[in-house]
Symmetry: D2
């Protein structure tokens, strides 16, 4: 029975919840996304467009990031947009396209789910479900994700403390799903020269407190295409288990977040640099097996 | 057709959306909550416990705030809690209790809805639906609220700019529901001596930009019972159309947020002070008609 | 001897220093600025231009705020400006003008000091020395202020916690000067629609923790002329012992902060409203004795 | 004559000042600190205790960081402390010790200056003057630093925007001293698990906007000894021109900031890792010439 069910202000750091805590599980958890391991010695690269906009856009981008060395494909079918008058995503049509290109390229697919009522649908197409920053404390959605059998990519809320982030993950684990990847994607601060402030110290902190894999999103974290490579390198150096980055075959025409999307060439160049950093911290970036292409 | 659907970083202030804007609707909107007008010359007082915990707790508190001059009753049946192991609310049982005491006291009831799947259920018991801070950018929930026929109390996200707050309201209005009350409840800053930083400048700013009523929550805004009266008075002085406050018949035993809940006596004393401030800014706090008690 | 001299991160709130603490001095301290009492039942109004720009500008503004009911005159002679190429103030010439108009109007004068080397000079002209936000942790300046025999108006740093603010005041008191007025002037947050976020909860918090008088600066706190009156009223309602506001005889031509300066007419209108709020909280705004005009 | 001298709220980014801007000076500026070049292809390591506490403490630490590969020695003689009752530094006695060990080890020395009246004294002992976070907008001190003939290490204010930081540097350059190194040391945010939030995106941003060298302080940026190595590696990966780190021969007994100081062994181990990262980004960490030891 509940004894003290009160939410204390999460300042000062209370005891961490049990399932996400490294105290309850000393070894690193490896999350497997349709064969791709996240949380081991490999640094995993997730790349693709912000939103699925068309067959051509998605397929060209996917093939290219596959060739450049990405391990998992990202792409949004349901898009959380600040304004109701902005492009809201292609919906199930987008999911179908993701599924098609996933089969062709062999890349597992991660895509966002925004509504408890969408979990089943999205699960039927995607290999991993993303819960976005704005939904990090959407508790019914977290519980629903905890009851599905797919890995979950949980992004940190843009004004969430480390403790709240881990408690949100605990909601998923408490329902029986321990395949959770944490993603630092920038927090909101007073600084306005970048879209958010990418808090790379969250990576060592989360890995110390929890056994779950931690990846970094330098695209949303900076909002600036030219800055993504620098921050991606820093993320690998600091110990991230992977990166999720926006890549677009024609960034200047993107329907969403074009200003922070890498071009295909920029992505290729960056992969070369990332391999050097990964080696310097005794890790590696795997090349996807080429059986299907 | 969508021309530029991209979410720009919401810094620097883009053009405001049309329906919430005062440019599209010069007059103040009056939201009517089962007979109680919000947004007119009256200052409306919403009071009650954080969470419905039991029949006794709810009924005693409700009768007392009614006697003290509250116009609307608050109480949570579904509670968003940072930890999955905290009290999650009484659910439909709580809704039924709210409905019963509402009939007895004549006070309309506002309670939180957290999931698109709950909107119909909650609407069938409550006079107004609250969308909480953590769900301010839960866009499917906002749309669902826009399609129901009850007034909506929308709380500002603790990390949300004024512009994002108005865009969230626009989601509701865009679905045909213009009965929306905006609520400032404190933002997250570096300061740790209070639970949040109550941003009272949001009140004149929101009223200048929009025609919607604006109320203030000094309980969550401060997290400190002793500070609630001071900030409540300031909120009325700054021009708020109402207050929402946590009151508990035994704050020290509350299952949720006891440290910021007023006792019944404190509430009574505060009401006297608030009437003076309301008069000083040419407004009034109405006493609920006593037909039903 | 120093045992544990280490600066701990000021989160979570350590024990407060002794001299500023209400524990060491239960009664409110009254600071007397050349006859004007701050910290008693009166609400004190400090008004004047951001910077002294010319004899005409200062004198016309001073006479007008005097007529409107101000109790103390403000005006900067040494100006801290973000850019070295901005107007840096009139220096000693400005101090002389302040001294002249002080004698004519009978209003005591407060002006900023930025450098330890200026303390003696500024003290010889002004009735109270202001230490600005950017210098709140300029410890040598605080010590120098603690050794002079004039009251000090200490503004909260825009990045400073309540605890750091009180520790800064302690620097002054520790040197033997207990005539210190604390001023909340807005903190820096993620919100960009206002220049700063005026943290009115700082007023009850500071008055609970300390015996020193607390005033509010709604001009810097909002950066918006039209919002100053609302926030000024809220500040009086919340319990501030005074207000410091920028007033300019021709705001549109001001060399500094014109966009947040009240016109003379706006100031007069506001004073009427403030008296009503002061009465509603059982305080009063005194009219300066007219012996000298 | 000044035309528009008004300080606009520094949001949204105005035109950058001329001397610090890369537009006025395309090439990277190399700052030379008594023979050590900062801003070239080398990554420079500045290490030493937070405060000079005794001859033994300073000399042992200095010799050891020298042996471990540090290029410049740091150590505070005048300490800015939140509380007046904390250890304020050894003053001139500390400067003399720094000067002695500098001669012995051949390491140039950087130490903080807090007061305009100290600039001459500190300049007579140190090879580089540090202006700390709390004094980043102490404009008289910046001007005085601009008139001295020593290089200046300018730390970013903990709540300063990139633009304000560059404008502060402009104050120094505007007086004729262009030997300025910028230092990112963490900003203040809502997150409390680290002492500050180290904003590594500031490094590429500053280097894009300005020609001045940029270094990073992972000790103050995290406040956690165990996290310093991770963030140091990330800082080199992101493109920093150097690091400044606190190292203490007995961290557990340090009079200041022991909880964030590396032990001598930890420093040695980190240097090995840093060389690998430096190589991965085509840079190198020089070993100090051993003529004097």
């Amino acid at each position: 029975m509940e004894i003290n069910p009160c939410d204390k202000p999460v300042k000062g750091g209370s005891a961490l919840p049990s399932r996400v805590s490294r105290k309850s599980h000393e070894e690193n958890t490896i999350v497997t996304v349709n064969g791709v391991r996240v949380g081991g010695s490999e640094v995993v690269i997730i790349a693709g467009p912000c939103a699925v906009e068309s067959r051509e856009q998605l397929f060209e981008t996917a093939r290219s990031v596959r060739a450049g060395g990405a391990n998992i494909l990202r792409g949004g079918a349901f898009k959380p947009r600040s304004s109701p008058y902005n492009f809201q995503g292609m919906g199930e049509e987008g999911l179908k396209l993701l599924s098609l290109i996933s089969k062709e390229t062999g890349l597992p697919v991660v895509t966002e789910v925004m509504d408890t009522r969408q979990v089943e649908l999205v699960s039927s197409y995607a290999d991993m479900l993303q819960i976005g920053s704005r939904n990090m404390q959407n508790f019914p959605l977290l519980k629903e994700a905890g009851m599905c059998r797919k890995p979950i990519l949980l992004k940190r809320g843009m004004m969430s403390t480390i403790e709240e982030f881990l408690l949100a993950a605990e909601y998923i684990l408490s329902q029986g799903n321990d395949q959770v990847i944490l993603c630092e994607r920038g927090i909101r601060t007073f600084e306005t020269s970048t879209r958010n402030t990418l808090d790379l110290s969250a990576v060592p902190m989360l890995k110390r407190l929890s056994h779950l894999p931690v990846i970094v999103d330098p695209s949303h974290g900076t909002g600036l295409r030219w800055m993504v490579p620098s921050m991606a390198k820093a993320a690998v150096a600091v110990g991230a288990d992977g990166l999720i980055m926006e890549v677009h075959y024609k960034p200047e025409t993107a329907l969403c977040d074009g200003s922070q999307s890498l071009s295909l060439d920029e992505f290729d160049g960056l992969m070369t640099d990332l391999r050097k950093i990964a080696n310097a911290v005794d890790r590696e970036i795997l090349v996807q097996k080429t059986t299907t292409v």
